[in-house]
Amino acid sequence: MSSSSSQSFFALCLRSRSFMVGGSITAFLLLCALISLFWTPGEVYGISIATRFLPVSAQHWLGTDQFGRDILSLLMAGTQNSITVGVVAVSIGLFAGVGLGLLASARRGWTEELIMRFSDFSFAFPAILSAIMITAILGPGGVNSIIAIGIYNVPVFARLTRGSANAIWTREYVMAARASGKGKFRITIEHILPNILSILIVQATIQFAIAILAEAALSYLGLGTQPPHPSWGRMLNEAQTLMFFQPMQAVYPGGAIALAVFGLNLLGDGLRDVLDPRLSRKR
């Protein structure tokens, strides 16, 4: 990227309100996750009956839970969990889905038909239900829920990639590349992939948000991250039984999930404005 085009890219970023707000929230969450790797204000794993249900104080900003753990620390460590799930699940979807989509688009014919019909079937299954079924096969657990969400992401990216790639294959410069004797694989790498990258980045941000929501839902149902690892979804599940006398415990983790999803969705909108201005004007 030349210096002038990178300058205009940053100018676009600064001008997009969605990008700035969404980006700041996402950066804040990343920072929380990073800090929690080295330091949390209180205990995350240890159980201390003497300090259970402590109210909000200078030492415990959000109080403590039924095991005496500091709620703010749990939320911070939960950020780590959600971000890991998002990154891994979206990467699985991206690698497998984009690969299949590009293959379908380059090969056409029965390969395309097979890949697309397969993703059609998977769309008849609600996302969470597929994840529940996959977790049922693999057994409950953090890693398994990530794989389940990742598998769900595959057809999403496959469809998007194939649709966008098909449009690029008809362009004149691709035809020129074919005429000059370039093979399908080389064209895919040199021309198709770079041209659909912005659409994929925007979708990846949205799928990241969906992955966080799905992991929280699975953990809430007891199928995701297992104790003692902190997870927002499970915190919410544990808080529900205490809802009548510790209502705020149910409010914090849900608020964290909502903030993360809100930030990522805004970032996705902002990225679309920045990376594909034609698309945002059409909206």
């Binding site: 609600p126 529940i132 096969i137 849900g254």
Partner: protein, 307 residues
């Protein structure tokens, strides 16, 4: 035809997935201390020692004849287990759909009519927030406020339709609102952008030029023409709505399809899981089929065979 093919495909996927599921139903029913003979006996009794292909065709032909088979865990016909659950999940999904469409139309039209004004910008900000809220968390918040604090609605459970229509609707309101808020927020954004798009069309300018008020133009011309994308997304969202019921039912401790399928997965009651998941997939497929028909109703230019 496509409808049947999709359902058949779905049934194959479900069956294969449940085949891979580890855990022997007979072992789960009898417990870890059961003898090998007892497990083998029960496996034969349940018919699980037969080839997979034979079991698949038995299942499919059974469904075609209205027989869903017997639950492994409870030894009763699957239909008996599912019948009561359907009477909760289906009304819940329909009620949520109605609420979300009502919410979307009111918010979307109001925002479009006040394009770029403060009310439009704040409504769209709120809808962005609505999309981000996990429905199960919203469900918990609704219980906290409306059931625990105000005591307007029950905090959970379902009385059963014999107890009276309104008592049941009252029990369904909070879960339906929890589900409808997220769906409604998504639909409101689509409604707004679709209405704005139609507002720019030539026929709208003509209608305005011949003296029709903004309001009449909106109701007579814009609304109908802007409904196609809204209905498309509604159909696509229905799958998510059903998935949402699985979780939200759990928050409200309602014995709907969601809790039935979760319990069946834990019991390795594969036949119940297969039937429930197929039912959910069928609901999604049928809804999208209805959406296709609605296209032609809304816009007669799109004849059914063109779709």
């Amino acid at each position: 035809m496509t409808l049947l093919a999709t359902l058949l495909g779905a049934s194959i996927v479900i069956f294969i997935v449940m085949e891979i599921l580890p855990g022997d139903p007979a072992l789960v029913i009898l417990g870890v201390e059961a003898t090998d003979e007892a497990i083998a006996l029960l496996t034969t009794e349940l018919g699980l020692d037969r080839p997979a292909l034979e079991r698949y065709f038995d299942w499919i032909f059974g469904i075609l004849q209205g027989d869903l088979g017997n639950s492994y865990a409870y030894k009763v016909p699957v239909w008996e287990l599912v019948e009561g659950a359907l009477k909760i999940t289906v009304p819940l999904a329909i009620l949520s759909m109605i609420l979300s469409v009502a919410l979307a139309l009111v918010v979307g039209l109001y925002a479009a009519a006040n394009h770029n004004k403060a009310s439009d910008i704040s409504l769209m900000g709120i809808s962005q927030l609505g999309i981000s809220i996990p429905n199960f968390w919203l469900a918990v918040l609704l219980i906290l406020y409306f059931a625990v604090n105000l005591r307007w609605f029950p905090a959970g459970g379902f009385p059963g339709w014999d107890e009276g229509f309104w008592v049941c609707i009252k029990a369904l309101i909070l879960p339906a609102v929890a589900l409808a808020t997220v769906q409604g927020a998504i639909l409101a954004r689509i409604t707004r952008s679709s209405v704005l798009e139609v507002f720019r069309e030539d026929f709208v300018r003509t209608a305005r030029a011949k003296g029709l008020s903004q309001r009449s133009t909106l109701w007579l011309h814009v609304l109908r023409n802007s409904m196609i994308p809204v209905i498309t997304v509604m159909g696509l969202q229905f799958a998510n709505l059903l998935a949402g019921t699985v979780i939200v039912e759990n928050v409200f401790h309602m014995p709907g399809l969601g809790s039935t399928v979760l319990k069946a997965i834990n019991n390795r009651d594969t036949i119940v899981v297969e039937n429930v998941v197929l039912m959910l997939a069928a609901m999604v497929v049928v809804t999208n089929f209805i959406v296709d028909i609605l296209y032609a109703v809304i816009d007669p230019r799109l004849k059914a065979h063109d779709i």
